[in-house]
């Protein structure tokens, strides 16, 4: 559905993105992840025809974003970093305007606007002037604007910024519900968002794609140690020594210690040492309170990929 090949964009001599390549299948939700200034917005702006690329090629639904920009524009809904709102209009008038310029036929317009207002939860403020809306509502009006013409492709630049936790969950549910029928690219620097909503992740750093995979695969790829959390009641120094002596253990660190202590044990890959750990603790007569494997979080994957050692 979306095909990006060797996309490069320079601002003067500074490359905002360099040779960015990725594909998005129809109906897929792709997470676009990267620190601030990595080139996420630039890529999105090129895909939405707002900006030309310096070199490389991008197509949306088979149409080139520069050569056949009008065809692409008809098919995308775009939520920029700052929602593009007219503060003097009320919500309904604004959405009506957007529906018109996006080419929603007159007889479907009323229905389209009502539907999108229900979908993003703007029923209570539909007659309110946008200037008087809170940040969360403005963000939702921005989202409504991207959805009003029911586009095949949605490009959302940080869609959950400025929302409260409940709204964030609602918006994530909304985005998830778009999968299948719509193709979605969403950018974010909130990592759990990606693992919760996206089927695939592209991690971008300093204008280059550093990884591309499913969230689960990415976690396991970067993983080079197995990590186990052990909570034990007893003398913590002795426990640490004992745990260290278990074969296969690479390192043991204490997380916090007040009465009971939690130890994070790193061990070699593909070696289940949980049984040995349990035995080591129990044989000394200490109280084993908890023992469970820890997953390497996406945060760590992200940090490892985007910070150079």
């Amino acid at each position: 559905m979306i095909r990006v090949e060797n996309l490069t964009r320079y601002y003067g001599n500074f490359p905002a993105i360099e040779n960015v390549t990725f594909d998005v299948e129809k109906g897929e939700i792709l997470g676009f992840l990267g620190p601030n200034g990595a080139g996420k917005s630039t890529t999105m702006r090129i895909l939405t025809c707002y900006m030309p690329a310096t070199s490389g090629k991008a197509t949306v639904a088979g149409f080139d974003v520069f050569e056949e920009s009008m065809e692409v524009r008809k098919r995308i809904g775009y939520l920029p970093e700052h929602p593009p709102l007219y503060p003097d209009l009320d919500v309904e008038t604004y959405l009506d305007f957007v529906a018109k310029i996006k080419g929603v036929p007159p007889r479907d317009r009323k229905k389209a606007i009502d539907e999108v207002i229900d979908r993003v939860g703007l029923q209570d403020v539909r007659k309110r002037t946008i200037r008087k809306l809170s940040k969360g509502f403005r963000q939702r009006v921005g989202l409504a604007q991207a959805l009003v013409h029911d586009p095949e492709v949605l490009i959302l630049d940080e869609p959950t910024v400025g929302l409260d936790p409940k709204q964030i969950i609602e918006v994530r549910e909304l985005i998830k519900s778009l999968a299948g029928k719509h193709t979605v690219i969403l950018s974010t620097h909130i990592l759990p968002e990606v693992s919760m909503t996206c089927q695939r992740v592209v991690i971008i750093d300093k204008g280059r794609v550093v990884a591309e995979d499913t969230p689960e695969n990415l976690s396991s790829k970067v993983k080079n140690t197995e990590r186990i959390l052990v909570e034990v009641e007893g003398p913590k120094d002795e426990i640490q020594q004992k745990l260290n002596s278990v074969p296969g253990v690479k390192s043991v660190s204490i997380e916090h210690a007040n009465g009971t202590a939690r130890f994070v044990v790193d061990s070699e890959l593909d070696k289940d040492i949980r049984k040995d750990l349990a035995q080591a603790v129990v044989s000394q007569g200490w109280g084993l309170l908890e023992l469970r494997p820890l997953d390497v979080s996406l945060e760590e994957v992200f940090l490892r990929l985007t910070t150079k050692e």
Binding site: C49, M51, K74, P84, D88, L89, I101, G103
Partner: protein, 262 residues
């Protein structure tokens, strides 16, 4: 056409749902009213003088031509007020869209930059038309006290409508080049003043250059309209002037799409 109408409708809704239109119209009419009052006071004085002379020399009083003595200077005053005030309206046309980030919505929607620039120009021209129509109240008062000529009034209004269109076209162009409204205002006002002073400089600039300067000044072309003469050469001048402004605005917005620096 549909997109053009949608853009035009949006533009007018914003102008009339915010204080912009009312401040502009109010300010324009206040200044226009002030000039009108002064012209009338002066007209009153020379009428009295004429009566006094008539009595002194025992002759019937000389009729004073209200068309020449009151309407013409008033129309000229209105074009000068427009020169100063219209940049204050046009400065926001594109600069505001850029600052608000709404240009990003417009430029990623299936509309052309021709539709966009034409809609913006039309909206501003409509506001100018409304403002001019409201000054008609002042001109209408003359009918109670004299007999002004309807033909001259209509030609004067046509002329002012066209002069305003020219100022709007220039102002819009400057607005496409910046996201700072103050910069757009000052540069458009500066450009208008340069054009005006070219007309004045034409008296000193020698034969060839002088002729050129005199013909560039948009207010110089207004003279005939104020006199009640509608000459196609002036209409062609304004039409091309307006077209040039719209075209430059279009090019400026369109080139940003290629350069990617907005």
């Amino acid at each position: 056409m549909k997109a053009y109408l949608a853009l035009l409708e949006k533009e007018l809704k914003i102008v009339f749902s915010s204080p912009i239109a009312y401040v502009f119209i109010g300010l324009f009419l206040t200044i226009a009213g002030f000039f009108f009052y002064n012209i009338m006071a002066w007209f009153d004085r020379i009428s009295m003088q004429s009566m006094a002379y008539a009595q002194m020399y025992r002759m019937p009083p000389q009729p004073i031509n209200v068309n020449m003595m009151a309407l013409r200077p008033f129309f000229h005053n209105l074009t000068i007020i427009a020169l100063f005030l219209l940049p204050g309206f046009t400065m926001r046309l594109f600069a505001e869209e850029k600052r608000q980030g709404t240009l990003e919505l417009l430029e990623t929607s299936p509309i052309t930059n021709w539709q966009l620039t034409l809609a913006k120009f039309t909206a501003a021209w409509i506001l100018w038309g409304i403002t001019l129509a409201l000054t008609g109240i002042l001109v209408g008062m003359l009918f109670f006290f004299g007999n002004p000529e309807v033909g001259q009034i209509l030609s004067g209004y046509l002329g002012m409508f066209l002069v305003g269109g020219a100022f709007i076209a220039i102002g819009m162009w400057f607005s496409t080049m910046t996201e700072n409204q103050i910069v757009a205002f000052i540069s458009a006002l500066g450009a208008n003043l340069v054009l005006l002073s070219l007309g004045w400089l034409s008296n000193f600039a020698g034969e060839t250059l002088g002729k050129l300067f005199a013909n560039i000044d948009p207010i110089a072309h207004f003279d005939d309209f104020a006199k009640g003469v509608i000459d196609t050469k002036h209409i062609v001048f304004y039409a091309s002037f307006i077209f040039m402004g719209i075209f430059l605005s279009f090019m400026s917005v369109e080139s940003a799409r290629w350069r990617g620096s907005r």
